[in-house]
């Protein structure tokens, strides 16, 4: 059975000299990449039929939850005190924006994001530059580089907890053995070292991804550019600044976007490594939302936090998308 609207003899349709614009015009003339050949009319009905499962999924589990979440954020709603459920308008938001706890968490989130994004991108790019050179052992390093990326975040957190352990940890043993430290330290319960430890663990997990994306871009740089620059007497740093970096800017921007999203939603390794402490020194917004909602059962306030995080993410996305748009990357 032919699909409705299809020519019974498409080969014939090709060979006949139908007028352009009519249904069976010359296929080659108008078939660009991604064009169906026989019925070239758009098929909105089939399009929506094929998208229905995905749309239903989105309506049920994205649209409904975000509306529900917003409505709840306008209520006083503690699961432990269901009787005191009542509409309070924007009071949750007002109280959050006036609280020191929120602003401290926002600062912590910014610190964590900046630290982990910077470390991930700098080390990831360096690793990519290294893997783009020829040296013995490169094939091995390239083959196994995805392994740290494949480590689930919870396991990542547990590995670093064990490495940083205050009594039996490998890092303490190595540092004391090398004479850098006099005595074992408990890194994760010290206000000064908990956040750096978290940043290192996070970066460790995401460096492979960044370096593979950057490496893919590095491999598309034509050698002629470097040769021409060498002819002109540019040294290695000048070549990097004038050729490599501009060529990479697109990939770096994309990596920046993905890493920002990852950093803002980081929750797992905080759960495992520090639990938001010591004090509230590693309490990022995602963690604060989780604790408010599921430890204190304050669903109204928790939803308000969630909305504030979403708005921040949304604002950042718009900035990034505009940056991309300006560069013409999304026009395609």
């Amino acid at each position: 059975m032919a699909v409705k609207g299809e020519h019974p003899f498409p080969a014939l349709a090709r060979s006949t000299n139908a007028q352009p614009g009519k249904m069976w015009s010359l296929a080659r003339a108008r078939s660009g990449p991604g064009r169906w050949v026989a019925p070239r009319e758009p098929q909105p009905f089939l399009f929506f039929a094929l998208n229905t499962p995905a749309i239903l999924l989105l309506l049920a589990f994205v649209l409904y939850p975000i509306i529900y979440s917003f409505l709840l954020s306008l209520h006083q709603y503690n699961l432990w005190q269901p009787a005191r459920f009542r509409f309070i308008g924007l009071d949750n938001y007002i109280s959050i924006l006036g609280s020191e706890q929120f602003w401290r968490a926002a600062q912590t989130t910014a610190l964590f994001s900046l630290g982990s994004i910077t470390m991930t991108i700098v080390l990831g790019t360096l690793l990519a530059l290294l893997l783009n050179e020829v040296f013995p052992g490169r094939a091995l390093l390239r083959a196994i580089i995805l392994i740290p990326w494949a480590v689930p975040p919870v396991v990542n957190g547990l590995i670093w907890q064990w490495l940083l352990d205050g009594r039996y940890g490998l890092i303490n043993a190595v540092l004391v053995g090398a004479g850098v430290l006099d005595d074992y330290r408990s890194w994760l319960t010290d206000v000064n070292t908990a956040m750096p430890a978290l940043i290192v663990a996070q970066a460790w997990n995401h460096i492979p991804f960044v370096s593979l994306v950057v490496l893919a871009a590095l491999q598309t740089i034509p050698d002629e550019l470097y040769e021409a620059a060498r002819m002109d007497g540019a040294n290695v740093f000048q070549r990097f600044a004038a050729i490599t970096l501009p060529w990479l800017s697109h990939s770096l921007l994309l990596v920046l976007i993905t890493q920002t999203m990852v950093a803002l939603r980081t929750f797992d390794i905080i759960y495992v490594l520090t639990g938001g402490g010591p004090g509230d020194s590693t309490t990022v917004l995602a963690w604060l939302t989780y604790v408010t909602t599921f430890n204190f059962a304050d669903f109204g306030r928790g939803n308000a936090y969630a909305y504030l995080i979403a708005l921040t993410t949304f604002a950042l996305s718009i900035i990034y998308i505009r940056l991309l748009w300006k560069r013409g990357e999304l026009a395609r």
């Binding site: 399009f47 094929l50 052992g137």
Partner: protein, 295 residues
């Protein structure tokens, strides 16, 4: 002569940098595997043994309930969570496979529609899919928890499958439609010339050609569900639905040092993603690069 010397210097420099990166990137993984092969006494050695002196698979055997009954009883007493690991593996596997399958079933028709049906103004819908990827999961988890509670689905694998579909399907659609667009439409043209219907073209031309893309989507969906923690820790309560990351993280609450078991659980949690990453590296890197370039 001079250039030869600089070449050697250069190689040495590169190898030193490579060695430093190698140490930083792989010592943590090595130490996890090494610790999982240690007995409790050896794990607590100060200074630590960099190479296990008497490596043993006893920790692994204990997780599967094999071995000396006396030791198993001791382990039961020391860390009861050890015996939650095996059921959690089954749960993780069930959830991961269901999510991978659901991704293929939901995302490939949608991606086909975007790449082949030539519908004008389809971009906004694609942007909606893309935008739903930007939503922070913490925002979805709270209302979804209440939703699942109302349906009585808390502590069932089904709640996790639904949640993970939301986290993975939009990305899969995005990735697959980009992949379909790179496939030459000429092959489908010639199938049509030979009298194939649209369904036959999709079944016999598009899907076999798209196998690398479909594999990549399935693997990434499986890996994402296998590693996910936030929804898992909120939606699950007992071994009926607890997944591996939840059980592995549950050791943290205990006061005693149990890193021999924790690292064993960690190896088992990280092993499937490791293997998938190594075997399908080409597909994954290609897919991630496409996903990153296009979105």
């Amino acid at each position: 002569m001079i250039s030869r010397r600089t070449d050697i210097l250069r190689t040495c420099g590169l190898m030193t940098a490579a060695a430093l990166f190698f140490l930083f990137m792989f010592t943590p993984v090595y130490w996890m595997v090494a610790t999982s092969l240690m007995t409790e006494a050896e794990m607590l050695a100060v200074p630590p043994h960099f190479i296990p002196q008497a490596p043993t698979l006893r920790n692994y055997a204990t997780i599967f309930g094999i071995g000396d009954p006396e030791y198993i009883a001791f382990a039961q007493n020391r860390a009861p969570a050890v015996f939650d690991i095996f059921p959690a593996m089954i749960n993780s596997l069930t959830v991961g496979l269901c999510v991978a399958l659901a991704n293929l079933l939901i995302a490939s028709p949608a991606a086909y529609a975007f790449s082949r049906l030539n519908v004008r103004r389809s971009l906004p819908l694609l942007m909606v899919y893309l935008g739903s990827r930007m939503l922070p999961p913490i925002m979805l988890v709270v209302p979804m928890f209440l939703l699942m509670r109302n349906f009585g689905l808390i502590d069932t694998p089904l709640s996790l499958i639904a949640a993970y579909c939301i986290l993975t399907v939009p990305f899969s659609i995005w990735l697959l439609q980009a992949y379909f667009k790179t496939m030459p439409v000429e092959l489908e043209d010639s199938a049509v010339i030979d009298g194939a219907t649209r369904w036959q073209t999709m079944r016999y031309v598009v899907l076999p050609l798209a196998r690398p893309g479909l594999t990549c989507v399935a693997i990434l969906a499986f890996m994402a569900s296998w590693s996910e923690f936030l929804f898992a820790v909120v939606f699950t309560k007992t071994t009926a639905s607890k997944t591996l990351p939840v059980v592995t993280a549950s050791f943290v609450d205990t006061a005693s040092i149990q890193f021999d078991y924790v690292m064993t659980a960690g190896v088992l949690t990280a092993l499937p993603p490791f293997l998938l990453a190594l075997i399908f590296q080409r597909y994954i890197v290609g897919g991630l690069a496409a996903g990153a370039v296009k979105g």
